[in-house]
Symmetry: C3
Amino acid sequence: MEDKNRANQSMLVMKEGSFTAFLKESLKGISQIIYIENTITGLLILLAITVSSFSLGIIALLSAMIGTLVAKIGGADRTLIRQGLMSYNSVLTGLVLQTFLTGPTAWIVALVGAAITAIFTATLMYFFGNVGIPILTLPFILLTWFTLLASYKLEGIKLSDSLSPQSLANWELHIEGKINLLQSTFNGIGQIFFLTEAIPGLLLFIAVFWASTKMGIYAVIGNVVACVAALALAGEHALILLGLYGYNAILTILAVSVVYNTKENRYAPITGIVAACITVPLMASVSIWLLPLGLPALTMPFVLSTWLILGARKILPNI
Amino acid sequence: MEDKNRANQSMLVMKEGSFTAFLKESLKGISQIIYIENTITGLLILLAITVSSFSLGIIALLSAMIGTLVAKIGGADRTLIRQGLMSYNSVLTGLVLQTFLTGPTAWIVALVGAAITAIFTATLMYFFGNVGIPILTLPFILLTWFTLLASYKLEGIKLSDSLSPQSLANWELHIEGKINLLQSTFNGIGQIFFLTEAIPGLLLFIAVFWASTKMGIYAVIGNVVACVAALALAGEHALILLGLYGYNAILTILAVSVVYNTKENRYAPITGIVAACITVPLMASVSIWLLPLGLPALTMPFVLSTWLILGARKILPNI
Amino acid sequence: MEDKNRANQSMLVMKEGSFTAFLKESLKGISQIIYIENTITGLLILLAITVSSFSLGIIALLSAMIGTLVAKIGGADRTLIRQGLMSYNSVLTGLVLQTFLTGPTAWIVALVGAAITAIFTATLMYFFGNVGIPILTLPFILLTWFTLLASYKLEGIKLSDSLSPQSLANWELHIEGKINLLQSTFNGIGQIFFLTEAIPGLLLFIAVFWASTKMGIYAVIGNVVACVAALALAGEHALILLGLYGYNAILTILAVSVVYNTKENRYAPITGIVAACITVPLMASVSIWLLPLGLPALTMPFVLSTWLILGARKILPNI
């Protein structure tokens, strides 16, 4: 009986009427990257990505659809699928692989990566469900790292030349460079989706404010606070300008102060700002830790900082 | 009362009659490496190892006995011991350390390693028991990595010269080389036990088919599928020929499609083939990730690919 | 109602009478580093640290107070705070960052690090609480590694020149050097607190014996056994003399044979000695594993060896 239901459910995807539903679920997969379950926000984000690069836009939409489809075929809980929670990691994987890979097979690898990310999302959901902690963007991060490393031994996966593994013994720090806080802020939100231009940044802010003014304000605060912290700790100005010290802070402050907090966490707004600041040294550490392998930090600093607080709250309920 | 029972149980090991039982348990420890609880299969595997190298055969049997003994002294559940589940990791540790180490103390290190692996098996069984996921060969993998690294700082543990740590910045990929799919297949099953010859490979296939035709067929399929995937992704031909892209796939397809699946997982055969293919990029990634330390990937790709599916099944029951 | 209680509790810290209580809790935070809940032991350890370096003594006390304060503000369980269990990791972080960092901001980083360690302690307590395994010194270890790595990319965090990342390919082992077992023993207990002199070592032994003769005797045994094991495995004599093969063994044998064992673990004294020996190859492995990043092993070998046994005991109750 249950089996039959599931079979029907799979078939429903193909029906005409439900294609709109399927598209909506996929767009929610895009908006869930910033914790928002909203078709319009998803559409605005997709627009921001497409404005920056047409092919990235296509990959983003296809990855969302593939992630949703894998979850459906696998028989995931319908509510999870409908909220876009099974596919947002697939979108990120598709985007990042399309950005970092090159050659004629790049888009195949990106889309296969998006499909495996949907399976991996389920795996980590199960493991972390046991401890009651959200998986955030971990599936996308780990799958991307594995795929980028695999390229060194498989000619079928071709890296664009933007990765450069380097021995830490040869590392030298140069922090000089121009700073423009406004530009850093737009780049900060853009970097969540691997974008670094003003127009897509603006569209992304609109996408967030459309869904929730509170989230929009927190996003700006987290971003600015992290840039100031990075300046105070004397980080590289070039990276601050590119928004690379801001995107983790945005995701973190939203998670800590808006999405995963309860009434009990009375200092949640302050904790969110502290957590946003903590992403700055974490970004530095994770980058150095990955230096010998030449991997990008992605949103790992956000994941670590957010888990730090969400886990600690079970023992320190006030924060 | 319970204490007394345990004491008696320990003494029983020494009694004459129970030595046969003890030997059977140890042989099952050898067969459990490929999920089989069968004395004859264990004996055939031991024969395959001994044909390839007499000293490896001795170490394999002694490691199985040591692992079983440690579990008995520690007071492990008798059923677990009887099924060989407490000692298969010890066998693998003994084999790999004997292979990678040299000097007069190599066999002592191998046997002490086998003993500690039995303790470590218990540790990980407890940790993973909480999430309901099998530990597979993780104890052997981690213990081997730790031991090989320790050799750099302790002259008492001597590496044979087969390890060569290398900076990723200096890495160059050359995929050229001959390919022979039949030879790759025999080497693939052999590599599970660190063997690379035709006769031992043949004996190992007989050992699997003896216990279960279904498992034998899946083993062949997984092996061939992975070799084809490695060719399609343009991996190094020399490694494919050595069976290094096959052994993880065999263990993975058996775990996913034969051993740990339930009726609910209706796509289990297809999922097994997909999981076997996923071991190929995983093998590449894990190797590159370990390159700066010069460590072998061992069966880590199998462990990761199998956990990916077994965890995901709790959320995606169809796969 | 509960909220009000917590508010009152926070205010109490400020009251005159309770400052003594607060100081006691902080001193217990210092003594808990070696599993002891005893104000006098805490005071003796603080004295040992201060004798070695006045500024380290100040940092130790301030870190303990900060850790305790963060736990109070966060609303942690009062019993945990009173026993010093929320702050001992903060003390270690303060000490190690003050030791490894330099420049005018070093002490600020050390104290902020101590504060974040208290939050991180709560996080890991929650995660490990689920599996029933103590967190030991893990929060301090991970936070220190992250902070030291961050220094490479943030000029505001300045490393003293004692770290030197090195490619494993260039590593050469030289074990020659003088050995003095008595000096090694005093250095061994000192290294727990990053000290390497005879007088502080002596004071630390007094601190342990004051609280428990049994613990004192085990500390000596663990230390000596590990030094002998390191000699037998032919480790670098210079490191043995500095106590670097001893401090992990002390913490491990105390954990395994005195603190976390139950009546059921009938071989606990022997298991403790085995676990102390296992810290020796673990120290070697962890050091080599961290070599490319130039990080110190800290008490990671102790954590791993202790978890090995504590986890295994759930399956092997006799050990």
